[in-house]
């Protein structure tokens, strides 16, 4: 399935990745090639097959309802590019 530049631009926006206009055509070409290649799967008959739900063959227990974490604000904020008064900071979002 060949992708056109507009579709690539739309996907890039969905993925929040800025792609310079000059690169769109080449990128569209690469992605089209890959998608065409994976479309080999069209030939496979999967009638009645359930998608693979879980890879692991064993079942671990669930977690107990206990507070075992948190209270580590310094660690949580330590790598952040910008913080104020214990908050993460980003450009203002208009709602």
């Amino acid at each position: 399935m060949p992708l056109d530049k507009a579709t690539v631009a739309r996907i890039a926006a969905l993925a929040r990745i800025k792609v310079p206009e000059a690169e769109l055509a080449a990128l569209a070409g690469e992605l089209s090639k890959i998608l065409t290649w994976v479309e080999q799967l069209d030939a496979v008959d999967v009638a009645g097959v359930e998608p693979m739900a879980a890879v692991t063959h064993a079942r671990p227990p669930l977690r107990e309802d206990k507070v075992t974490d948190g209270g580590i604000r310094d660690k949580i904020l330590a790598n952040a590019p910008e913080t104020t008064d214990g908050f993460f900071v980003v450009p203002k979002v208009v709602e």
């Binding site: 669930l62 107990e64 949580i76």
Partner: protein, 489 residues
């Protein structure tokens, strides 16, 4: 009573569906061990899992599953033994992973129902489409700085139950009744505090209008309305907005709106909303949830008695009316307090349950409300049984009851002690009452004459005067009887 709204071109039907996000009562979050308490300092209840640090993984909290299943059972719903967590992918600063773990195609609970108690005594069944578990997002604060948004992830990862109703509601009143009933069920089960003011119950309203019998209109979603009153106002406003729009020749655009409670209007959200492509897929970090049927059966057997069943039992076993029973079961604590009260008092004196019910509903609720406590709290901290027993034994009159209840609340004394101290005992001594009557009648010769001439309404006045003279302590029935005798000559 018709729910239809009158427009210029005829009558309109409003179609409403509600999506409620209920915060699950649990100590820790849905997929991490951080705490869920309300009001903590920013980012102090955040684990590296909640903050979506590299290499972090979710692990499901078994108790949150139990809470969701209990809620499903309380909604008379189908519990799915096999369900799956899906990732809902979108970007927002309070969604650190860039996806929310939710349930899309295989939710933990399927179809159910809620029965509404309408004011006219009728019952309306509203369908539940599904209930699923999902993570709550953090909080974005847009008003702390002119050009920046502050992000607090304390709430990120708290367990939510999303409860979706069928579009069966037909009026703002029904929507209010639905929310009140849902709240009661959640509180009975202990699965959610259901306090909209605290934000642990949030409601999105889907509203559309159509001519009766016509096909469904385009709906608008009003997001995050945070009180029952506002839900009702928002629905009213939105229904009329849509009707006016259509009648003026316009078309309703499917969109997300916000309710401005200050102005009482809904308005369109300004964000450029191309419809979200959430790219749902099963979360590969989590295994499918498989419930053990034996465990489910045990859970079902251990469910507390729910409002509808309790109401029916109150009506059957206690002989209460529908509205009395409804009033008592609205809060589980009130219903329990009523039963305990009735049981305690009946051990000392025979008392019809309807009388106890009325006392709780009309007198106790009022007094408790004035003091800022719940009826159940009032009953548990004051000698209410004592007061009722005194009343049933005719030691105090019915009219005295309210004064006695207020008095024991203020003085923290037992009913007996308070009544003795204030000498509130009902006067039943015929001699004493006759003395009071004679004294009063002597002062009112003209009125006595009028009465004897035919103005029978004056009896009530005379009774009132005698009650005044005896500081309300005289037994009103006796006063009545003796007065009549005396006046008859």
């Amino acid at each position: 009573m018709s729910n239809l709204i009158k427009g210029h071109t005829g009558e309109w039907e409003v179609v409403i569906g509600l999506e409620v996000h209920a915060q699950v009562i649990s100590k820790a979050k849905l997929f991490s061990g951080a705490a869920t308490d309300f009001g903590a300092e920013p980012n102090t209840q955040v684990s590296t899992v909640d903050a979506a640090f590299p290499g972090m993984l979710p692990v499901l909290n078994r108790f949150c599953v139990e809470q969701a299943v209990k809620t499903g059972l309380g909604l008379d719903a189908q519990v799915n033994l096999h369900s799956v967590f899906d990732r809902k992918n979108y970007f927002y600063p309070d969604l650190p992973a860039g996806y929310q773990i939710s349930q899309f195609s295989r939710p933990i609970v399927g179809k159910g129902k809620i029965v509404l108690d309408m004011p006219d005594g009728s019952a309306r069944e509203i369908g539940i489409t599904r209930l699923h578990l999902e993570q709550d997002a953090g909080k974005s604060l847009h008003d702390q700085h002119p050009s920046k948004t502050y992000v607090d992830l304390n709430r990120a990862g708290v367990a939510l139950m999303e409860i979706v109703s069928e579009p069966d509601l037909r009026s703002a009143e029904e929507a209010g009744a639905y929310l009140r009933k849902l709240r009661a069920i959640l509180r009975y089960l202990g699965t959610c505090d259901a306090n909209m003011e605290e934000g642990n119950l949030r409601c999105d309203c889907n509203v559309s209008v159509r001519k009766p019998g016509g096909k469904l209109g385009t709906r608008c979603e009003i997001k995050n309305v945070n009180s029952i009153r506002f839900v009702m106002q928002a629905i009213e406003y939105e229904a009329r907005r849509q009707i006016e729009l259509i009648e003026e020749g316009g078309t309703v655009v499917q969109e997300t709106r916000l309710f401005d409670s200050g102005k009482g209007v809904t308005r369109s959200m300004r964000s450029k909303e191309e419809s979200h492509d959430y790219r749902y897929f099963p979360d590969p970090d989590l295994l499918p949830v498989t419930l053990d049927p034996a465990w489910l059966a045990k859970l079902k057997a251990e469910l507390p008695e729910l409002p509808d069943v309790k109401k029916a039992r109150f009506m059957c076993d206690y002989g209460l009316s529908g509205s009395q029973a409804s009033a008592l079961v609205a809060e589980k604590e009130t219903a329990d307090a009523f039963e305990e009260l009735q049981s305690k008092v009946s051990k000392a004196v025979s008392i019809p349950a309807t009388a106890t019910a009325n006392t709780v509903i009309n007198v106790v609720s009022f007094i408790a409300g004035e003091r800022g406590v719940s009826p159940a709290q009032f009953i548990s901290t004051n000698d209410v049984p004592g007061a009722l027993i005194l009343q049933q034994k005719n030691v105090i009159s019915g009219r005295m009851l309210k004064e006695v209840l207020e008095g024991i609340a203020d003085s923290k004394k037992s009913a007996e002690a308070f009544v003795a101290e204030k000498s509130l005992k009902q006067v039943t001594d015929t001699g004493a009452i006759e003395t009071a009557i004679d004294a009063m009648l002597a002062k009112e010769p003209d009125k006595v004459a009028d009465y004897r001439a035919g103005k029978e309404k004056l009896l009530a006045y005379f009774v009132g005067q005698v009650m005044k003279a005896t500081q309300g302590k005289a037994n009103p029935a006796l006063v009545n009887e003796l007065l009549k005798k005396k006046l008859a000559g």
